[in-house]
């Protein structure tokens, strides 16, 4: 509770006690005597009135001096003065008192929720241990650390700035950034991102960015800016609020004057008009709607999804068509040896032979073969591993004595006097090797030694298991069409779709629809844009079109789609820039989770709008008819606001 809130609370309590005492006293016989003698009732009730409402009076006068006629303090004052004027002293005090109680509660609730949202985004590192030349460390504000400084991250500390590990090994908890709870291993040469928490190892790192360009600063800035991009609901409320107060005020004036002139019963109609003034503030609406969106954005960031604005969170719920990029989005985006098919030798022999040839090439296929070989030797044979793990490609040239890369075919190498061929069908045919053709989809490397075929190695990209969940859940959440838009060849695109379909049969047997409705292959970035444009026209404004991609080559289409979703872009500025929604880890299934959060948030916001407006309108009508008292009006004003705020807080919770 802030000092200001405490002061208000104390005043409310004092005024409440005096008011209570007055009420009890007024029922006794003794009271009548005093009133009749020399202490007039208005003065008695003025004491609690002024204690509770002094700030309202001051503000009202200040604002009137500034020409703010439709100010809620001023209107509140008029309402209570009106009640006073017609002899309703007790009611006037009650109105002010309860208005203040409501205000206090409201400000407390807002503060509370603001804090719980802030806690959730409490990923800001407070200091960095910078290592000085003499080896000692000093705690420095991350803002002041220069790029290239050496920092030490102790166990349990937050990584302050994006950096590269130079020594030490640890497990890093990236959950604050990605929502992913499984810690990631970090060792020499790995890049660690600010905002993640170090496990139990000590890391020495070299910073590679300034704090303001680091992941954590980018994320915080993004989330802070999110509330300035307003949703349609918020814009509606703002427009509405602008007219609401003047209209209610004018209605109150008419209500006080017109019927009174006809009936002559001024007291009754002024009282009714005062009810109007009490509900003239649109605060409940103006608070609860942005708060709902803010909570929704907070909920999304807690699962590692950054939504760049309330407007995007609003739009996500309306996604009807969603397009995916292939590599890195639905697939893992890394080429790996996924099959070794030896002929007349062991798997190890085949892989080692392939490795000897591929070792000096930088082609992705070659890297995959080398990686697979290293992984195996490390596990099985420590002696050989020690010799060969020291494998920067340029060292150890003696294994391949000569080496030739044949573009579009493969590699021909001579190693320890043996001629090794590693490449595709064309190479085998060219060198007249009799080989067994492999039908596996992906890239197949055929290996031959001294003219004899040894077998083949399959290298392929594999689908993410989450992709299937993603597609199934999206369809279940009202997405009508899914499309795969890729720059790759048709066969590869179809192959991925088939793989997805096959996996879905076992993991989601109940799912009967199409996982992917449309396949677009051989697409250049501009073709993807036109495909997305076609989808937008197809929908005729019935829904939104989203595009999910890795954000590197897809910037134009991410911008063009109604909602651009960037995937796995921790640390990639271009993607964060172009996209509207950023998924911090690689999990496409989170798109469906965000859709759920978006739906829930919108439902809560609508509930608030209907509830707050409904109660206000109802009390206005009942007030005009003389049924609702000023008490009811106070409830309609602050009570509704508090309930709406509490309701908004629900959006902060992520349903599992």
């Amino acid at each position: 509770m802030s000092a200001k809130q405490k002061k208000l609370l104390i005043r409310i309590i004092i005024a409440g006690i005096i008011y209570g005492a007055l009420l009890i006293w007024s029922t006794t016989y003794f009271y009548e005597d005093v009133i009749e003698d020399n202490l007039p009732e208005p003065i008695l009730f003025f004491i609690p009135f002024i204690i509770a409402g002094i700030d309202i009076v001051i503000k009202a006068f200040k604002n009137i001096a500034h020409g703010q006629v439709f100010d809620e303090n001023f209107l509140m004052l008029i309402a209570s003065i009106g009640a006073y004027g017609i002899g309703e002293y007790s009611e006037a005090v009650a109105v002010i008192l309860f208005y203040q109680v409501g205000e206090h509660f409201q400000s407390y609730a807002v503060g509370k929720s603001r804090k719980s949202i802030a806690d959730m985004m409490d990923i800001c590192p407070e200091y960095a241990n910078v290592e000085k030349e003499d080896g000692s460390t000093e705690e420095i504000d991350p803002d002041d650390v220069e790029t290239g400084s050496i920092i030490v991250v102790k166990p349990g500390e937050r990584i302050p700035i994006d950096s590269e590990v130079i020594s030490g090994e640890s497990y890093i908890d990236t959950s604050a950034l990605t929502g992913e709870s499984v810690p990631r291993r970090a060792a020499e040469g790995d890049v660690v991102y600010s905002g993640s928490v170090n496990g139990n190892g000590l890391l020495r790192c070299r910073t590679i960015k300034a704090y303001e360009d680091s992941a954590v600063a980018k994320i915080l800035e993004l989330v802070e800016n999110a509330s300035s991009r307003k949703s349609n609901h918020e814009n509606f409320i703002h427009r509405f609020a602008k007219y609401y107060t003047p209209i209610v005020t004018i209605a109150a004036v008419i209500l006080a004057v017109v019927p009174s002139l006809i009936t002559g019963d001024w007291a009754e109609w002024i009282k009714r008009a005062c009810t109007f003034l009490v509900i003239s503030c649109p605060c409940a609406l103006v608070i609860s709607v942005p708060m709902g969106f803010f909570s929704g954005i907070g909920a999304a960031s807690s699962i590692g999804v950054l939504v760049k604005g309330s407007n995007y969170l609003e739009a996500v719920s309306g996604i009807k068509t969603i397009c995916f990029d292939k590599t890195g989005t639905l697939t893992k985006g890394e080429f790996k040896v996924n099959g070794i098919y030896p002929e007349g030798c062991s798997e190890e022999e085949l892989l080692e032979t392939a490795y000897k040839a591929e070792k000096n090439s930088t082609h992705p296929v070659a890297s995959a073969v080398c990686q697979a070989y290293r992984d195996r030797t490390k596990e099985s044979d420590p002696g050989q591993g020690a010799k060969d793990t020291d494998n920067s490609l340029s060292d150890n040239k003696n294994i391949s004595d000569s080496f030739e890369e044949l573009p579009g075919q493969g590699i021909s190498a001579i190693s320890n006097g043996e001629e090794i061929l590693a490449g595709n069908d064309k190479l085998m045919k060219l060198k007249n090797i009799s080989y067994t053709h492999s039908d596996h989809s992906g890239t197949v490397v055929y290996v031959a030694k001294n003219g004899k075929f040894m077998g083949s190695v399959l290298i392929s990209d594999s689908i993410k298991t989450e992709s299937i969940d993603a597609l199934v859940n999206l369809k279940a959440n009202g997405v009508e069409k899914t499309a795969l838009l890729t720059g790759d060849k048709k066969e590869q695109a179809e192959k991925i779709c088939n793989e997805l379909k096959e996996s879905a049969k076992t993991s989601h047997p109940a799912f009967t629809g199409n996982l992917i409705d449309e396949i677009g292959s051989d697409l250049y970035p501009q073709d993807k844009v036109s495909a997305v444009e076609r989808f937008i026209t197809e929908l005729e404004g019935r829904g939104k079109v989203a595009f999910a991609g890795d954000g590197i080559n897809d910037s134009p289409v991410l911008t063009r789609a109604d909602i651009g979703i960037a995937m796995g872009s921790l640390g990639s500025d271009a993607a964060i820039e172009a996209a509207d929604v950023v998924i911090m880890d690689d999990n496409p299934a989170k798109i469906a989770s965000v859709m759920k959060i978006s739906r829930k948030t919108l439902r809560i916001v609508k509930e608030n709008i209907v509830f707050a407006l409904g109660v206000k309108v109802l009390v206005l009508i009942l007030g005009a008819l003389g049924i609702a008292s000023m008490w009811a009006a106070v409830f309609a004003d602050v009570g509704v606001a508090v309930i709406a705020i509490l309701n908004s807080m629900r959006a902060l919770k992520v349903d599992k």
């Binding site: 020409g67 809620e72 603001r114 802070e224 509330s227 300035s228 609020a241 605060c283 103006v286 608070i287």
Partner: protein
């Protein structure tokens, strides 16, 4: 130039909206946003007259919500 300021004692959401409206009307302000939730104000205004514009902003805000203080760093 875009600058962000922290706000203190911004208690009323409607006031935040009114402040935003009023700031946008100031000559030289390209865009402004007052966030009730984060208690922050972002102002995008002409570089050359930024300080003068900020003085104006403070004055306008005082009018709308006398309690609220703009923390100028």
């Amino acid at each position: 130039m875009k600058k962000k300021f922290n706000l203190q004692d911004l208690d009323c959401a409607n006031c935040a909206a009114k402040m935003e409206e009023a700031i946008k009307k100031i000559d030289g302000v390209n865009d402004a946003s007052v966030s009730f939730m984060t208690q922050k104000m972002t102002i995008d205004a002409d570089d050359a007259r930024f300080d003068a514009i900020m003085d104006e902003v403070v004055k306008v805000c005082k009018k709308v919500e006398p309690d609220c203080v703009i923390l100028r760093k």
